[in-house]
Amino acid sequence: MRRIVVVGASAAGLSAAETLRREGYDGTLTLVGDEPLAPYDRPPLSKQILAAEWEPERLALRTPDALAALGLDLRLGVAATALEPADRTVELADGSALPYDGLVIATGVRPRRLPGEGAHVLRTVDDALTLRERLTPGRRLVVVGAGFLGAEAAAVAWRLGCEVTLLEPAPVPLTHAVGMEVGRVLTNAHLERGVKLRCGVTVTEVTEDGVRLADGAQIEADEVLVAVGSLPNTEWLAGSGLTVGDGVVCDEYCEAAPNVYAAGDVVRWYNPLFGTSMRIEHRTTAAEQGMAAARNLFAAPQARKPFAPVPYFWSDQYDMKIQAYGYLRGHDEVAVVEGDLADSRFVAAYRAGDRVTGALAVGMPPKAIRQWRQAIATGAAWHDSVRTTVPAVES
């Protein structure tokens, strides 16, 4: 293998490129990114950057020296537009074509938008800087979507003195992600601070002076942030023959086709640890999967390893630090195994079938949750891990 192309220059793509060099690959290594910036980190965008605690320079994932040491053919500010697996070529928006022997797809996701003009989204450093300029005291901000991103942005805007309203279609925010009881705890953090929350409402359109709801009502706002999830960037793969269905579909090795691997937010792959296919938009998974995809691409076929991680994410909201391991979606039961929901200090364990498949902690020391990560990683049985005296909060 003498020519490897990595499409996508964020956490997953960078991790893949670095891993290839670490594994001893010394051929041409092209890293393509549609943004003009060197690889940068995204989680701080809705936290320290939005709060103006950090300047964008701190987001750089590697120093210029470390990046230069990788000996990359770096193509920034240019998107990939097509993949021709028959001639093993990636086409770029500037008209150039990159032949490859091996390919890593890491094109990530983009925010879903709503009809109408003028709303903010939060995915790139430009998005964050544009929004933060507007978050001045007294400004009315409507956040559409009370998921993790929307909640983090609302928390920052509240701290900056904005008048914040969260609009959420579900009866309780984050129910599908963390369950209703935990969702309520996270929701209360907004209400206690006077952040307005309206649940069960659907926003149909962004208007000149706010948003319009499905029932025709208008909610006025100076700024609107739309945080209603993401769409995988797979359009450029149309006609490539790769299977696309809510992401690039890959097997447990992160392989999409011979010598074509994928990593990060854009991938739907089979995670053998949970026995299901998943698409995970977590920062840590991006780095781990970039590494796994690169190793499997470069390895001899019999040396490939399935990518079977315990997903992990964190979220900072107000004074709460939320950390979660595992795959919480589609759980059958949630039980508080340490602390108390009422104190916003707890560990909740998640059951799917007869296994521990997830754990979420708020305000707990790392050792309290680490054992639960271990239980998830080893596929521990629920009845062995969760004392039966603990009442289930939900089933």
Binding site: R22, T284, W314, P365, K367
Partner: protein, 64 residues
């Protein structure tokens, strides 16, 4: 080689501890702590893994 940790960048994910438990630990807030600044060749692979998986890019390995 020497390990450098920027604790103010740390997001308390604990990924470094999972990668190299004898080199990293976490305090009660989850913030990473360096147990050893100097690592020998035998620990290098694990520490490189920790550098790579750190979601805050807070760990660096520097030649001396």
């Amino acid at each position: 080689m020497k390990v450098e940790l920027e604790a103010d960048k740390c997001v308390a994910s604990g990924q470094c501890v999972l990668a190299a438990m004898d080199v990293f630990d976490q305090d009660d807030d989850g913030i990473a702590i360096l147990l050893e600044e100097q690592v020998g060749d035998d620990r290098l692979d694990d520490v490189k893994e920790a550098v790579a998986v750190c979601p805050a890019a807070a760990i660096r390995l520097v030649e001396q």
